[in-house]
Amino acid sequence: MRSSVIIFPGSNCDRDMDVALRKFGFKNQMVWHNDKSIPKSDLIVLPGGFSYGDYLRCGSIASKSKIIKSVIDFANSGGLVLGICNGFQILTETGLLKGILQQNKFLNFICRNVFVKVKDKQNKYFKDLKKDLLELHIAHNEGNYFCSDDELKSLEDNNQIAVTYCGEDGTEDETTNPNGAIKNIAGIFNNNKNVLGMMPHPERMIDKYLSGEDGSLFFKNIIDNFK
């Protein structure tokens, strides 16, 4: 399975993502934001970081960069596009995903492990995933997902909510919501579920000695579903 990771000025999870993808068998290439086209890929990843210093709004400048047109075309033709953290913010700014990531409710940068509940498995990312809860890492200042009531209803009606913040026992409420996101939303799909944006970093959970391996399950699952 071929993948491409797009690097923007200020991306800082691009190399971690490269290591994770290669570890699980992806043939990965790094693509610079100023390139016009993307090499033949089955998956495009927009990594975490602070593209363009988070100027104006997180992800807004990156969403207008040269490479983005190719990403949008790829997504519209059904290709898998995964945005993690700042990548999720970029995807909302391009309009590929609904809503926006606002500043965390309590104005704090959050850097810790969280549990998320997988809400939908009828997609190429989570189909046949053996677990329903994943322990992943978050590190963000703007992760407070927001959208209009109509958009929320359509996300719910089409099962486009991908993952939600929860406790170790699966409880979803205010106490297990780190950043104030509506409905504890940590990640969503587009209508066709080929585009996934999420705040948690699976690429930081791929080593049993350092972190835990729920991220490994995530990447292995994408590869298995591709075969």
Binding site: L56, S60, T92, Q102, K105, L107, F146, S148, G180
Partner: protein, 77 residues
């Protein structure tokens, strides 16, 4: 020609920074501050002599980049 734009959060959208500023002002004995909303202000120099045309260009910029209409409103002043 210089065109000025103010971008603010829509009514009803949580503004935690505005809230923190309000609470700080209250703590500084500005007790009558009831609410603060924080926004952004832009001065855009456009190479265009016709004010109407310049404003219509900036309107397009607001929709495409300067404001995110999910949570923000803009005003060309």
């Amino acid at each position: 020609m210089k065109i000025k734009v103010i971008v603010t959060l829509k009514n009803g959208v949580l503004d935690p920074q505005g809230k923190a500023i309000q609470q700080t002002l209250n703590g500084m004995n500005f007790g009558n501050v009831e609410d603060v909303r924080q926004g952004k202000y832009f001065e855009i120099e456009v190479k265009e002599k016709d004010e109407k045309k310049a404003k219509s260009l900036v309107d397009d910029m607001c929709k495409k980049l300067l404001a995110n209409l999910v949570i923000e409103d803009y005003k060309i002043v």
